[in-house]
Assembly symmetry: C2
Homo-oligomer: 405 residues x 2
Amino acid sequence: MPKISHKGAAMPASPIRKLVPYSDAAKKKGVNVYHLNIGQPDLETPALFWDKLKNLDIKVLEYCPSNGIASYREKFAGYYNNIGIKVDASNFMITEGASEALSFVMMSCIDEGDEIIIPEPMYANYIGFASAGNIIVKPISTSIENGFALPPIADFEKAITPKTKAILICNPNNPTGYFYSKEELLTLRKICLQHDLYLFVDEVYREFLYSGTPFFSALNLEGMDEHVVVFDSISKRFSACGARIGAIVTRNKQVLEASLKFGQMRLSPPSLGQIAGEDLFDLGKDYYDGVIAEYQKRRDTVIGLLNKIPGVKCPNPGGAFYAVAELPVNDTDKFCQWMLESFSYQGATVMMAPASGFYSTTGAGKNQVRIAYVLKSEDLTKAIQCLEEGLKTYAKKQLEPANAE
Amino acid sequence: MPKISHKGAAMPASPIRKLVPYSDAAKKKGVNVYHLNIGQPDLETPALFWDKLKNLDIKVLEYCPSNGIASYREKFAGYYNNIGIKVDASNFMITEGASEALSFVMMSCIDEGDEIIIPEPMYANYIGFASAGNIIVKPISTSIENGFALPPIADFEKAITPKTKAILICNPNNPTGYFYSKEELLTLRKICLQHDLYLFVDEVYREFLYSGTPFFSALNLEGMDEHVVVFDSISKRFSACGARIGAIVTRNKQVLEASLKFGQMRLSPPSLGQIAGEDLFDLGKDYYDGVIAEYQKRRDTVIGLLNKIPGVKCPNPGGAFYAVAELPVNDTDKFCQWMLESFSYQGATVMMAPASGFYSTTGAGKNQVRIAYVLKSEDLTKAIQCLEEGLKTYAKKQLEPANAE
């Protein structure tokens, strides 16, 4: 029997999805599972999208250009112009979600064995994309104590080697919800210019901000046109995760050209999501205000409740719809599995993503979880209450001699 | 300015799409371009698909499971059962086109520096997927003289090294249209069992057969459950290329598990194409008979006309909707570009894919093109007539001293 590759064996399973068999089993037993594990918004995809689908007048569902439908790229660029970023359609390559954008850009810019610096905890799939390309992730620790702010410049200097090609951040951050300030971006600019590094910024959550401070895009950093590559997606902005439409946005033509060759290899991104999604960029302030108000309410609910649970600590996130919380347990991989396998409260349990998978450093984040606040406030309230009860029961169980590990 | 990676620089541009800027320029000049370069069928996507989209009752376009929607996998398996292949939904992983299926399986089974044997000419993107994974393609030559049949077993034996992990064929073949016989598959079975190799078979064109001989799927090879991985797609079968829905089909659970980790990394395949496409598997004999009759007519038109042109040689393909033709020119890369840049006949020109990109061996196939017969017979007739005129003009041009190369 032929063996699978070392790369296949080494690929990490997604911490967001690896517990799915346990949640499926819980559901089969009739337990209601609150999904705080995945950033799947429950907000409705705007009616514009569905209306467009219902009124399609197409006979053949064709491939689109490898870099995306031209009119879609133009609309996308228009949205950027409206938020004060000067780009045009030629700066965009449409991809199958931001996932593919990250994958293509990493392969286009970083060779096997070369390094990328990413503050941790980091979006787990960054580790996967790097692993698929045999790229070395050099994590820089951030701390729950200061809300996961950008580490001091000295930490970056220490991590940079001749093999370092890029720094990657997610702003606002998945999984921590941390919202990087303009000053922090200027710090990164300085480091990248000094060491001639790419600055990759995942800005898919840029609308989801709760502090009143305006967003500062890496694309507006001066003198960084060749350095900055931004990743974007309509998944969260328009609750359209299943469309699988993302984008690479950069003024660096070489990066776009190399990425396009990877894009030609897979022929084209999905056509339907672009065709139906084009008009979503026309949505104005009303749409965004409504969405942000809803997420802010949820954030306030969930963070407030979490910090009332004895032993739980969770910084107040400035953006996105995630938070990383510290729990009074030794190993959240075991705890999260236990919550699904062995616990329910009032007929329900909670699924969270163990934070260990968001750390590249082995053993880090073992007592943390990522929580996505993508449910209605009432459900979030019940979910956090369920978590609190779970923690109580788990603590008792840990005291029983038979369960000592 | 940071540099792109060696991998990015080394990625080949798609021979199918690299001439797009020239065809765009021709169209801007008002020239009608017959697209024989790409397997984009002009047949209508079945009405079932569009009807489903028009009647969707969904509020949120969610991610689907990383291995695809369960009901879709069940329907897909049902279609396999109907054509005599015993598999169930658990043998499927839904992917973003067959492209992603190939990419995930190559990475799951073959490490950097290890080898895969592929008869050439081969589907150009196989070279791209291998290049992205730093996998070495070991081509085995097939010959236009015998219609690109499977090479003798001795050629495989010569190519196998301790680093060889898999053999990959496309049946019926893209780009040659060659339809592999059951006997040829049994030969491959013998080699794979003897050397413990994977047998990867791209069967996306399995319905498009014109010889009357029934299709023999690699999944029906005895004792090969752990060796065989099949790639599939709805793109060609249902003229739904833009849906980007493909599949990995195998009984090897380890390959599915490793591929799923790559699948989790990109979260999910597109939901819309699965939701709208589910019922297409209910289409019966009438649908397939109609499609096959149409392609057979086109094949007969295009192959008949090609072989009447002086100096052109084109074997009669047994399946798919491609043919590789030898032209009386030295370099089809230059000729195909010239056809778009400098030639028109009755207001039109022809875009073909230079065959060099379908060969892994440098310099091979320089006088060949791939032709996709995906247009109506009337248009194909005009296109081949245009090609004939182009060849005449090009031959004259070559005789002019100023154009000597």
